[in-house]
Amino acid sequence: MKKIKYEDIGSILNPLKNLQFFARKPVTEPLGPRPAAEIYRGFHLNDMEKCIGCSTCQKICDNAAITMVKVPHLKNDPVNGIRNLRPAIDYGRCCWCALCVDICPVGAIELSREYVHTCNGDEVDSYFMLPQEKGMHGTVEEKGWTKTETNDLLDRHRQKMGEMAPEERVDNFDEIVDGFTPEQAVLEASRCVQCGMCHDSCPTHMHAPEYIRAIWKGNVEEAVEWMYETNPFSHVCGRVCTHRCETACSLNQTGLPQGSEPIAIRWLKRYAMDAVPHERIKEIAASKKSATRTGKKIAIIGAGPAGLTAAFDLIKQGHEVQVFEALAKAGGMTRYGIPYYRLPDDILERDVDVILSMGVKIQYNTRIGKDIAMEQLHKDYDAVILAIGLQSGRSTRIPGSDHKDVHSAVELLRKIGSVRDDIKAEKDPGFEIPRSAVVIGGGNVAMDIGRSLARYQKQQYGEVNMTITAIDAMENFPADDVEIKESLEEGITIIPSRGPQEVMLENGRVKGLRTWKVISVFDDDGRFAPQYDESDEQLFEAEMVIEAIGQMAETDLLGEELTEQLEWQRGRIKVTEDGATSVDWLWSAGDCVNGPDVVHAVADGHRVAESINEALSVER
């Protein structure tokens, strides 16, 4: 660096040096806006198709510049994680910090390189803008600041939960996942952007954003309070819920290079429920119980999630509730359908215990229609809820499916479940374990029976020989991805796109299942009409074939007269939205109305209880 000598005045001709500036290139830019830099933060763009309306941008905006606007013609489907809300930007507030871009879970909102907007004093409305693909003036071609992996502000990946290795778990029924540690739970909860998609998509509208926030704040009791607002089966749902919330979660995105996993809402629920002492949960549940008694009596048939939820709600409202259960213990399908490694009995027991502690009475081993007639219930009670679930499996009705070694999955699961009623030992399910078996169906029930039998096979024969085959392609399997993954880990073979044609018999014993390759499952109108490639035939050898393609209800308990009175729809009892049947004292809820799913059953229980409460209040 040149040092200055300021005593040096220089020559008198010094100013002439300045003539050189005439020869220099002028720095003046042409009039009119220059193109901005590649990542310039100009006016907003929003991909209306990509945007899911989660309003996360609104939450991060430090200037309260973003208003969510309802755009009616867009898709509004919170169950699949999309709302018809779109951000509108107030340029009287915005500071172009691009935090909205960095936090957007889907990368829909972006900034353009456009930066000129002027308006007359009376046109200030133009400062409030609904950004679209083409920017503020509909002329934008180039994007400016966009989302990249580096500037993404969201934590895209779940906390890794400890779980048993496949080799450790395959020969026993111990619970597979460990659950979150407190630190993990707080970290996982902190990932939530509080969009509320989970709340909207949940059948029973659990307050997931609230309880996640409570967990994040370290207040698990508050979280449990939020859960008991809507779900008395939080222990169960914390383990085996179909978690539509996680499907809908804003963070459940596929189109991003960095990947994006939804918040583990189900595991957070489980964490909070496990973290609060059982007695405290009882207190929380009881705190909402109404002090007044209405004097109304309600009978509920079936002590499954739907029936017990309705019982819980009704008893909270001050009614008297009597539950009748055909089997020896409460829980319904959650006990007799879900294997122990997914839902340990003592966990289910806790949920049931909370409900019982509210004052619900259950009469076990009482089959309506056999032990007590429906008419009797009608006489003795003000209202009856039919929450009998789906007890019997559907059959494929292919040749050979009436053989004694062709079983339905629910039936076997019930046997496995019943065993645990009496003896803790898991060795003997009460039927002979086949050395090899093939399961037809790609749903969770198929996985459950497949994995349960695989465990027995491992215990008894030391090896797993289990095949699950379904008509769907692998990506369309109805079962949870994690179920499929774990099944494969446990040595189960899964073969997609096979249509079962015949159960092959040999010497009166099942030899195997003959299948054809599926070309397409649905026809052009979307109806179920599978097309097969008959040349691609395959035989799965097995001693037992298990059908897990769906369940149905046994409704013979109703009696002929009542069956006549009721209106039916496609083999199911026709009910209104509130679960009321066409008979004014009978309501129906749960799987037998709405298909197999715990959380739907819970939602149904609430609806029915609400409806009954209203109906009874009117009577009073």
Partner: protein
Amino acid sequence: MNCEEINLWLDTLLAEIEEIEVTRKSERRVRVDVPASSLPALLELLKGKASYVHLSAISCVDWPDDEEFELVYHCWSYEAKSLLSAHTRIPRNSAQEFAHYVSVYDIYKPAAFFERDIYEMYGIYFESSPYMEKFILTEWNGPPPMRKDFDAEQYVNDTFNWADYHPQWLQELEEDGGGIAVRPEDIRL
């Protein structure tokens, strides 16, 4: 004076001033907790004996739950190259009347600016500080605004109006049954 000497010196200081607590946070950061009555003496010593000639800042923190103001004097020594933060707590008064404390203007001249700032923003009156008058907030009549019990957002909403937008596209959406769904103020975190 280097860091070790400063450490030694701080140890001797412990003996001289009562109830003083020294925490070394890192090589160049020292935290000192000192009762309000001893603080001027500490600063006097710091400047006079320990080369802490530069008062970098005086910060005030309001702790309404403890009914206290925390004053933090950040002093820098050009020789020891170390920053010493002296924390002290004084009782907090209601917004109508001032809390009182003594000025350190006679030790550190820059204190006058910070003390005036705290006077305006928190309502702490520093005895014998030269400029105990309004400076930045000359045209403000409300309570000292930095106090935690002053709710700025509430004040703003009571005092000011917001721009009222009715752009064409919004009117069209409203005709179709859409329109504004969530305003930003509804979801403030």
